[in-house]
C-alpha cells in the first residue's frame, strides 16, 4: 500500500517534469510566433496606409516632409548590393580557405588557422564596424576615391564578416566527402589538386551552398557594422554607385528609430517586416536543401 503511494508520487513527479520539459520546448515556438505576430501587427497597418506598391517600389524616402513619402526601394536595392558585394568578396576566399583547411593544411598550421577562424566568428560586429570606419573607409577614400563611406567599404567589411560562416560549414562538408572519391580520381591519373577541385569539392556542393546562404543571411541582417561604414545616405536609384554611400534596410531602422514618431516609427517597423521576409525566404531555401540532401 505504502509502496503504491510512493509509486504514484513518483509518477506525478515524472509527469509534472515531463510537462515542464515540453513547456520549455514550446518556448521557442511561442517566441517565433510572438515575433512574427507583433512585427506584423505593427508593420502591416503602416504598409496598408502607405500602400504596398508605394512602400516597396517608391524610391523616395522623406518621412519628415509634409506630406511625407515612405518608399524603401533604394534601401532594398542597397541591401541587395552590399550583400552581393559581400558574396563576391567573401565566398571565393571562404571556400578556398575551407579547401585549404580540409585538404592542404599541415597540422601545425591548422592549429593556427582553425582557431583564427573561430575567433573571427566571435568578434562582435561593433568591432568590425569600427575597424571598417578607421581602416577600410580611409583606405578606400585615398586609394580608390569617393569619400570612403560606400557600397565598396560595406561589401569589404561584410565579406570579412561572412568568412567564418562559409569556411566552417564548407570545411566540414568537404571533410564529409568519402575518401574513396579522392582515391578513385587519383587512381585514374588526376593530380591531387585536380581531384580536389573537380571531384571532392563538387561532391560537397550542397554543404557549400548552405554555407553561402547562411552567409547571405548574415550579410542581409547585419546592422551596426554597415551603419558605421556605408554612410547611410538614401540614394536615388540612378545615382547608386560602388563608391557612393548607401543605406540598407537594417541601417534605415537603426538610423531613424531614435527620433521617429507616429507613422514614421511604424514605417521603420515595416522595414523590419520586409527584412524578415527576406530572412524567411533564405530559411526556406535552407530547409529545401536540407531535405533534398537527406533524400
Amino acid at each position: 500500500m505504502e509502496k503504491m503511494e510512493k509509486n504514484n508520487q513518483l509518477n506525478t513527479k515524472e509527469n509534472m517534469m515531463q510537462l515542464v520539459f515540453f513547456a520549455s520546448a514550446l518556448v521557442s515556438v511561442l517566441a517565433v510566433i510572438a515575433i512574427c505576430l507583433f512585427l506584423l501587427m505593427r508593420g502591416i497597418p503602416a504598409i496598408s496606409e502607405i500602400g504596398l506598391k508605394n512602400f516597396l517600389f517608391n524610391q523616395k524616402w522623406a518621412p519628415t516632409n509634409t506630406p511625407p513619402t515612405f518608399g524603401i526601394l533604394s534601401m532594398i536595392v542597397g541591401s541587395l548590393y552590399v550583400t552581393a558585394g559581400a558574396i563576391i568578396i567573401g565566398v571565393p576566399i571562404g571556400i578556398m580557405c575551407a579547401i585549404f583547411l580540409a585538404e592542404f593544411c599541415p597540422i601545425s598550421i591548422y592549429k593556427i588557422v582553425k582557431p583564427s577562424v573561430n575567433l573571427l566568428a566571435g568578434i562582435p560586429s561593433i568591432i568590425y564596424g569600427f575597424f571598417g570606419m578607421e581602416i577600410v573607409v580611409p583606405y578606400v577614400r585615398e586609394m580608390i576615391g569617393g569619400n570612403g563611406y560606400s557600397i565598396l567599404s560595406a561589401s569589404i567589411i561584410l565579406g570579412i564578416m561572412i568568412l567564418p560562416t562559409i569556411i566552417t560549414i564548407s570545411e566540414s562538408s568537404i571533410r564529409a566527402v568519402p575518401k574513396s572519391y579522392m582515391e578513385a580520381s587519383l587512381g585514374i591519373g588526376a593530380t591531387r589538386e585536380e581531384s580536389i577541385f573537380k571531384v571532392v569539392v563538387p561532391a560537397a556542393k550542397s554543404g557549400i551552398l548552405t554555407s553561402i546562404i547562411l552567409g547571405i543571411g548574415r550579410a542581409v541582417g547585419e546592422t551596426m557594422a554597415v551603419v558605421m561604414v556605408a554612410g547611410g545616405a538614401v540614394m536615388p536609384l540612378e545615382k547608386i554607385a560602388l563608391l557612393k554611400p548607401i543605406r540598407t534596410l537594417t541601417a534605415n531602422i537603426v538610423t531613424e528609430m531614435s527620433y521617429a514618431s507616429g507613422l514614421h516609427t511604424e514605417s521603420l517597423i515595416a522595414t523590419g517586416v520586409v527584412l524578415f521576409v527576406f530572412i524567411i525566404i533564405l530559411n526556406t531555401a535552407l530547409s529545401l536543401i536540407k531535405t533534398k540532401t537527406k533524400n
Partner: protein, 288 residues
C-alpha cells in the same frame, strides 16, 4: 610522336594549373589569418594603452568616459539572461532527446522554430523587444527589456549545444541507471545531464560571447543611456560595453575615439577568453 609531345605538354600544363590552384588555396588561408591579425593588433595596440583604473572603475563624466557602469550592466545582463535561458534551453534539449518520440510532429515544429530563431538578425530581435517588452509589457527602455530580448536570442545556441551534448551520452549509461531501478527523471538529472555538462557549458560560453558583443538588439531595448556610477536597478536604462563603444565611436572626438579603442580592446580580450574556454571544453569532450 607528335601525339606524345602533345600529351607531354598537356601534362605540363596540368601541373602548372595544379600549382596555381595550390597557391590560391594557401593565399586564401593566409588572407584569413592576416585579416584577423590586422583587426586584433589594430584594436589592441591602440586600445590597451588607453585602459586605466579611472576608465575601468571611475565615475562617468565627459573627461573619464568611464565604462564602469557599462561593465556592471553587461555583467548583470550576462548573469540574468543565462539564469533565464539556460534552464529553458537545457529542458528543451532534454525533451527533444530523451522524451519526444522520433518523427513526432511537435519535434519537427520545435526544430523549425529553433532554426528560425537562430537565423533571425539581431535588429529584428531589437524591434521585437522594443514593441513587446518595452511597449506592450511596459518595461520601458530598461536593462530588463534588454535582458528579456537577449534571453530569447541566446536560446537557440543553448538548445543546439545541449542537444548535441546529450546525444553524445552513451545509451549504456541510461540503461545502467534504468536497470538499477532509477526512474527516467532520475536518470536524466543524475546521469545524463551531469555527463553532458561540458557540452552544455560550451554553449553557455558561446552565449556569453554573443551577449557581450550584441548591439543592434539592445539599442532600442536597454538603450544607450549612460549612468555616472553603476546601479543594480533593472528598470534603469543603461548601455552595455558594446553600446558604450558604439556611442564613443560615433561621437567622433579624438578623446572619445581613444576610449572607443580601449572599450574595443576589453571586448576583444573577453571574446578571446571566451573562445579559449570553448576550445578547451571542446577538446575535453573530444577526449571523453
Amino acid at each position: 610522336m607528335e601525339n606524345l609531345i602533345n600529351i607531354k605538354s598537356n601534362i605540363k600544363k596540368r601541373k602548372i594549373q595544379s600549382m596555381f590552384l595550390k597557391a590560391l588555396v594557401w593565399i586564401s588561408g593566409i588572407i584569413t589569418v592576416g585579416i584577423l591579425a590586422y583587426i586584433l593588433l589594430f584594436v589592441l595596440l591602440r586600445g590597451i594603452p588607453n585602459i586605466n583604473m579611472e576608465f575601468l572603475f571611475g565615475t562617468y563624466n565627459s573627461e573619464t568616459l568611464s565604462a564602469f557602469s557599462s561593465i556592471v550592466a553587461t555583467l548583470l545582463m550576462i548573469i540574468i539572461s543565462l539564469v533565464v535561458a539556460v534552464p529553458i534551453g537545457v529542458f528543451c534539449a532534454v525533451y527533444l532527446t530523451e522524451y519526444a518520440k522520433r518523427g513526432n510532429k511537435a519535434v519537427k515544429i520545435i526544430r523549425l522554430a529553433v532554426d528560425t530563431l537562430a537565423g533571425i538578425p539581431s535588429i529584428i530581435y531589437g524591434l521585437f523587444g522594443m514593441i513587446f517588452f518595452v511597449a506592450v509589457l511596459g518595461f520601458k527602455t530598461s536593462l530588463l527589456s534588454g535582458i528579456c530580448t537577449i534571453s530569447i536570442m541566446i536560446l537557440p545556441i543553448i538548445i543546439s549545444s545541449s542537444e548535441e551534448a546529450i546525444r553524445t551520452v552513451p545509451d549504456l549509461y541510461r540503461e545502467g541507471s534504468l536497470g538499477l531501478g532509477a526512474s527516467r527523471l532520475r536518470t536524466v538529472f543524475k546521469i545524463v545531464l551531469p555527463t553532458a555538462v561540458p557540452g552544455i557549458l560550451s554553449g553557455v560560453i558561446l552565449a556569453i560571447g554573443r551577449i557581450v558583443g550584441e548591439t543592434a538588439a539592445l539599442i532600442f531595448t536597454s538603450g544607450t543611456n549612460v549612468l555616472e556610477s553603476p546601479t543594480l536597478n533593472l528598470f534603469a536604462s543603461q548601455r552595455t560595453l558594446a553600446i558604450h563603444m558604439y556611442m564613443l565611436a560615433s561621437e567622433g572626438l579624438p578623446h572619445s575615439k581613444d576610449m572607443a579603442f580601449a572599450t574595443g580592446a576589453i571586448l576583444i580580450i573577453i571574446v578571446f577568453l571566451v573562445n579559449l574556454a570553448t576550445t578547451k571544453l571542446a577538446n575535453k569532450i573530444g577526449r571523453m
